[in-house]
Amino acid sequence: MPKLDLLPGTLDLLVLRTLDTLGAQHGYGVARRIEQVSGNQVMLNQGTIYASLVRLTQQKLIAAEWGVSDNNRRAKFYEITERGQKQLAEESDAWWRLADVIGAVLGPQDAD
């Protein structure tokens, strides 16, 4: 099965959720986590994740700071802010409602 393209705007949500779960994390960590969780079904140019990170930082949904990683590398660490958590709650709520509606309209999936 070919990999899925992400819907526009959803990468930000995934990044927020990932940071919420993992706590402070660098860009590579976020990308790795998303790929792992998605079971490698999502098509992700890992470089594009940084646009999402900078956008969220500017909106003050996450905070960024240079630090040192486990294996002693300098890296920029991102951490979700309170505002980010609120935003995440709202947006995942909205996402589920939308998914339910779409699911309801499309009907039960054929088992094959």
Partner: protein
Amino acid sequence: MLWLRKLLAVVRKRPLDDDLAAELEIHIEMLTDDKVAAGMSRTQARREARIAVGNLSVAHELHREARGLPTLESVLQDLKYAFRNLRRDYGFTFVAVAILGIGIGANATVFSLVDALLLSPLPFEEPDRLIWIENGDRENPGSTNPSALASRVLTMQHWQASSGLIHEFGGYSPFFTRGSWALTGDGQEPERLVGVRVTDNLFPMLGIEPHLGRFFEPGEVVPDGPPAVILSHGLWERRFESDSSIVGRMIDLNDNDWTVVGVTPPDFDFGSVFEPGYNVQVFIPAVLDNMTFWGNTMSVVGRLAPGATIPAAQAELNAINLRLDDEEPELDGWTYWGFVSPLSHHVSKSVSGALWLLWGAVGMVLLIVCANLSNLMLVRGVSRRREMAVRSALGAGRSRLVRQLVTESLLLAGLGVAVGLGLAIGAMRWIGQSQGVVLPLLDRAGIDVTAFLFTAGLAVAVALLIGALPAIQVTRRDPFADLGTSTRGATGSRAQSLTRSSLVVVEVALACTLLIGAGLLIRSFGQILDVELGFEPTGRASFQVNAGSRYADITDVVALQRQLRDRLMEIPGVESVALTDNLPLDGNRSWGLRPAEDTEGELSGSAYVRLVGDGYFATMGIPVLSGRAFSADDADGDPVIIINETAAKALWPGKEAVGQYAVGGQNEARVIGVVADVRHNAMDEASGREMYFLVPQLPVRSSSFVVRTAGNPQAMTGQVRNAVREVDPLIPFTDFRPIEQLVDRAVSSRRFFMGMLTGFAGIALLLASLGIYGVISYSVGQRRGEIGIRLALGAQPGNVLMEEVRRGALMAGIGLALGLASALLATQLMASQLYGVGATDPVTYLGMGFMLLAVAMLAGFIPAQRAARTNPTTALRDAS
């Protein structure tokens, strides 16, 4: 504040990019490490890590878009590119910015004048309701005799009682130049001040607020009320050093104590609104009850009732005046009428025609500037075809290229605005300070926000105008054709060269129109200066003497005047001295004048009146045409009068006037002489009737002493001052003004407009010839190879020269023809500005036409000669 962070991100592009690069590098390293740990070779791991991260420049691009303001960034990019281009072509940029700066500066200057004088409301409360009410001949309006323009206080009081549409009537006495006020007794140098009598309601009616104290109270405008005076802000600042406790203080004016009750606000300049050229420094209450039965002594200002219109007020006033004809016998024998106009019209009336004209002219200059720059940009555009083609081939859309070109012209215009505003500020400063420029409301003219916005708007319009043509031409082309050809040696298409030539033709036509306009003004000015003044201004100077109340009796005044004259005559180098109540082209008033036998008043008319001492005609150089001048002995004899030629012809047509009896004002006197007509009111206005009475038969308190000297009178200022001091040290001796200055002032606004228009025409001529030069020069440069071949094949350099000169002449000729035609139309609009020449004056048209043609030919000749001198060998080598 998200946009602020984004803006910051745009500015901090470098560090943010570096940050991202570091992050991406770490990302790749971490991914590589993980893959190596999973058992991959390091080389292989790194390769796959790079693939997983994807295209780094895409990551960068997305990052920038996410964090910044993409539109702004591409604009900045355009700007940066434009700036780099302009810096590379600094020669072009310099010329373009200089031309633009001149064009925009001229426009900003004229606009700020137009704005202050014609567009902005007067600096008063609800200025639309303020009106000017002028006396005059009801059958024959349009006189400019000041006595005939002022009204009687009695008439004004009748109006006030009857009018419903005009709320309030007030005013001032316009004959203040005569009534000068000597400020003494404060330990400083005595000083002569210009003071004007104003009604107590004038300032409140205008709606201004005193800077200090208050304006006049009703108790101060009754006969024998306490003497109160209001100081102008300027005088208070200078003479009283902005003393905040000035209100309530006594000052000594004409030997009387006056209480200062107030100071006018700093932005109120009475002179600049009502009497341009006069710096009015003190305001004295006009006691109407004393003035009721005086003559025409009040310039009337009124305030319309809310909602009332000028025509309605005019109709009402006419009805009142017609009723007064029947009901009020004491008005009999006086001309009275009330011509109502908006106060703003009255203030700017004298200059509005010239200003509109100037505005039109400066607009033309800007059009020429645009045509010129369009041409420059076109030429530049041709040499940039390859650049555009490359960008287009690399995927830049047409709109992107047009935007780039428009950005460049906007940047140019921006630089032009900077230069232009600098020039305009300098020009306005010069105009403001120059004593020679007498314009109303000048104190308000300056480069303010409005002028700045106007200029900025102008610049955008200019940028679009000059950027559009080249943008269309450059981007319309097929990029691949341009990439294929070498730019060197390529000739612009016929269409392009036609466009350029047409622009030059337009420039020449506009320049021609401006030149003819300026030429007509110059000729008018020459005619005015050649006017027979009736007196001799050079070698004479005057100072004013005001006998204060220390000279209680009029005989004391006469004695003082005699003493002064005798003392002045003793100064070596002084040839003659005489006094007069008013100098020509300075103050003015008029009385009725008729032959004594004409009791019905059939030949009666108003005449300028002068009260002069004996020796006046010799001192001023006014020729005596028949009879004789006043002599010292006349003082004790029967009443005598001298009239001018015009009056003599009007009063006793076909008869000898000398020996007849005339009544001037209330005074019957024998005519002893007829003198030449003197221009008393304005240089460009025929003299009208004039009469002279002898001081002291009719004594005056305030007078001007005219001193005729052998050399330059101003060199004797010190001696004259000492002489005056010896006679009475309390007489203020402020200035010893050359009579020439009066002539200067009388022509100053005309000279100003003439100078401005001539300057604009000069710029236009320069730009148009630059246009011709540019086009020929460019075409010669482009066809260098062709010319080289022709010369190598035996063409005569003379023929090559002639061919190019012909091209220039053709453009100049067509432009000239169009210009002459448009000048015939345009100069009709300036008929009112001309004096002594017609709008179709052939001398001007021919002269200016020839001048334009000569300059244009020269402009074409220079590059043509270069073409003829082309060395075939080098030209062909370069072209191959």
